[in-house]
């Protein structure tokens, strides 16, 4: 998320305060004066983790502080987890398998590599899931485990979590 604010003392603090107020976690703050920035403005990029549904209230608080948000980054899914699935992936409707995770709204399948072997042999796929929070990732993996049980697929999880 990229914020633009007035170049006055205390402005950075004013921009950061509301983030903790809404339960957000600041991951990085990058600020630099650029030639393209208007003289009275200061560009600050803040990378942060935010509980679900708090973005609107954060933007509201920032506006009250006189901080204008230039751009909200599109990369909102911070956690990534790659798993491998083995089984009759096509016959058990792989798009449904993917959809069950995407439907959560807070986790989604961002990559899928499928290897098709000989007819009637089980196929293997690598699936990458991204989510907004660790809790959501755990939930997505739980869903995938349920789907695997139902469709008799083998799920290989990473040793270390998301």
């Amino acid at each position: 998320m990229k914020l633009e604010m007035k170049d006055q003392p205390g402005q950075l603090v004013a921009a950061l305060k509301p983030i903790s107020a809404v339960g957000g976690n600041i991951i990085a703050v990058i600020h630099q004066r650029e030639a393209t920035t208007p003289v009275e403005g200061l560009d600050v990029q803040i990378v942060l983790e935010l509980p679900e549904g708090r973005l609107d209230s954060l933007l509201e608080l920032l506006r009250e502080q006189g901080v204008s948000v230039v751009r909200i980054g599109e990369e909102r899914l911070l956690y990534e987890c790659t798993l491998i699935m083995i089984g009759h992936l096509m016959h058990t409707d792989i798009s449904d398998t993917v959809d069950r995770i995407d439907r959560t709204g807070s986790a989604e399948v961002t990559e899928l590599s499928l290897v098709m072997p000989a007819i009637n042999s089980p196929s293997s796929a690598r699936i990458t899931i991204r989510s907004t929070t660790r809790t959501e990732m755990k939930k997505a993996i739980r869903i995938l485990r349920e789907v695997a049980r139902e469709k008799e697929l083998l799920i290989i999880e990473p040793l270390e979590g998301a």
Binding site: T82, I84, S113, P122, L154, L159
Partner: protein
């Protein structure tokens, strides 16, 4: 001089006998039995002769002497119980261990069945009789994991314990990853080399690893668990494609046993793991990481099976007992 009786004269029993012959351990064997025969000799059994008889396809002793006779009648300080594991009811080893403890004899075993199934009872019996019950060889062969956790890491809280507990599976997965073999091809190769049994179920379905988790949970982590508590997935459905998909990301797949005491997690399952991770060991090796609060993470790597290697764990237990307390010496 410590006197011992050995039950079981297969790979482990013979490994112990060879080590006693080769090294000056101050141990005399006064009782010996395999499934078909036995010898009792208070003056000390001629181990070299017994080994020669067994290796020529014969019995180790006399057909009229049973393992129960050796347990009940031989004159020994420590019973060394090294017969094959029975995961159903632990018998006949469980009965023999009980009988020896009741006779106030120390017991050292490599047999997973009795320890996984009846540890609290056996431990109480040993305490009542004022003797030791040691079982280092039940988990990860030569690696002194139990000793390290009970002695070296005493006072630490274990937050997580995880690793490669089954050499057969590790061999199969290593070969599938290295050569692109199918599961069946790698299993056939493991059988040819003597790493897998004719019926590989016990290893490849993760039962062996799960039993080791139960033993660690019950004996060193103060948990009360049974085999059915372990969430278990084996490796028999793995495909070369799956290993290649892992490889594409500089990862591989290993069968990992995992205990998280606080969360009550007991799990054996194939997992994706970075190739440079310390638990990625080759061939039949075992590797275990213990996560602790004071000592940090410790990783143990070593041979998880084999005649001499398992004998090493048994002898370590015997000498532990010898150094602390031996009756009649």
């Amino acid at each position: 001089m410590m006197r011992i009786a050995i039950l079981g004269f297969g790979s482990v029993g013979r490994g112990i006998a060879r080590a006693i012959l080769a090294k000056n351990l101050d141990i005399t064997v006064t009782g010996l039995a395999d499934s078909k025969s036995g010898i009792i000799d208070a003056g000390g059994i001629d181990l070299a002769a017994a080994l020669a008889r067994k290796e020529n396809g014969g019995a180790c002793g006399n057909a009229g002497v049973s393992p129960a006779d050796v347990v009940a009648k031989a004159d020994y300080d420590v019973l060394v119980e090294v017969t094959p594991t029975n995961v159903e009811d632990g018998e006949p080893a469980l009965g023999h261990i009980r009988a020896a403890l009741r006779r106030r004899k120390h017991v050292v075993t490599s047999n997973k069945g009795p320890i996984a199934l009846a540890y609290p009872e056996l431990r109480a019996l040993a305490e009542e009789s004022g003797v030791f019950l040691k079982y280092e060889a039940t988990v990860c062969g030569a690696i002194p994991l139990i000793h390290a956790m009970q002695e070296g890491l005493a006072g630490n809280t274990i937050s997580r314990l995880y690793g490669v507990f089954n050499g057969t599976c590790n061999y199969i997965l290593t070969r599938m990853a290295a050569e692109g073999l199918t599961y069946d091809q790698a299993l056939a190769e493991a059988r040819e080399l003597g790493y897998a049994e004719a019926d590989p179920t016990y290893d490849v379905e993760g039962i062996d690893a799960a039993i080791k988790l139960v033993i660690l949970a019950n004996t060193v982590l103060d948990m009360r668990t049974v085999l059915d508590d372990v969430e278990r997935t084996g490796i028999s459905l793995l495909t070369p494609d799956a290993l290649q998909l892992a490889e594409d990301q500089d990862c591989t797949i290993r069968l990992i046993g995992e205990i998280v005491p606080e969360a009550g997690v007991l799990r054996v399952s194939p997992r994706i793991i970075e190739k440079d991770h310390p638990l990625v060991v080759e061939g039949t090796l075992n590797a275990v990481t213990v996560g602790t609060d004071l000592a940090g993470d410790l990783t143990f790597i070593g041979k998880g099976a084999g005649s001499t290697e398992t004998a090493s764990a048994v002898i370590g237990d015997l000498l532990y007992i010898q150094s602390r307390h031996v009756q009649g010496s």
